[in-house]
Homo-oligomer: 157 residues x 2
């Protein structure tokens, strides 16, 4: 009944990444510490770090003193980067998912609803791409930070 949700994969993934961002430069952080810092299940979190590593967002070191660390500076990793790895394309409906089969929506251009799904998709992507892990750590509220273009904030889109 309320399925416009980001799953725990994405939620936990972003939270885990903020932990790594906060300790950027401290060397590898073991999964145990990341999980403890955010109150997450360690074995579940391991499942999320695999994809993030394969996507190049984090790097890992095995053995004692091992763990995970951010591959880039916290300001260079966007929430969108993390979410797309863990959730797949951020598209509210399949028929506007650019990566999937184009034959899914037989209605294509004739579907009046399609327009709004595109707008929602683009809006969500713009927001998550505009917020970096660094932004999440800073105490200040962000309403238009890391703006993609120079327009004033507050527009409906």
């Amino acid at each position: 009944m309320l399925p416009v949700k980001i799953s725990t994969r994405g939620q936990y993934g972003v939270r885990a990444m903020t932990v790594l961002a906060a300790r950027y430069g401290d060397g590898p952080i073991p999964v145990r510490d990341i999980a403890a810092a955010q109150g997450l299940s360690q074995s579940y979190l391991e499942q999320l770090l695999g994809p993030l590593r394969r996507a190049g967002l984090v790097r890992s070191v095995r053995g004692p003193e091992g763990g995970y660390y951010l591959a880039s500076q916290p300001s260079e990793v966007s929430v969108g980067d993390v979410l797309r790895v863990l959730e797949g394309p951020l598209s509210p409906v399949d028929c506007v998912d650019e990566d999937s089969d184009p034959g899914l929506c037989s209605r294509e251009d004739g579907c009046p609803a399609r327009k709004v799904w595109v707008m929602v998709r683009d809006s969500v992507n713009r927001v998550v791409d505009s917020v970096s892990l660094q932004d999440l750590l800073s105490g200040e509220d962000l309403d238009g930070r890391r703006s993609v273009d120079g327009a004033a904030s507050g527009s409906v889109l």
Copy 2:
């Protein structure tokens, strides 16, 4: 793996409402016709029209020549109105859902990720509230129509 989705309830609901919008003023449209116009299951669609009627978005007439019709003009019904009835609050994660228990997220203000969920929630709500059924019917693309404030379009939010 890609669960940032609007369910079929919301999708079909909006599509059904565009049918009613296109035939606004024609009197009641039977469910059979609505379903046929958009290629939906009639009995499933009946399940969606119940909540929409109880929410006051559509009205119904029973008996022969009966059916459903929009309670307001197509320009006065937003996609957000429809989605909130069928999907519940449009909130990407429970911890920023204003209508639910506030005790869900024990982290509350300490959670760095919370900020971005609020931004996503507000962004999605602004978009769907800014698009009316009328907007979906008109052929033109809408990039900033029915703007809530006067700012130029194209801002990141």
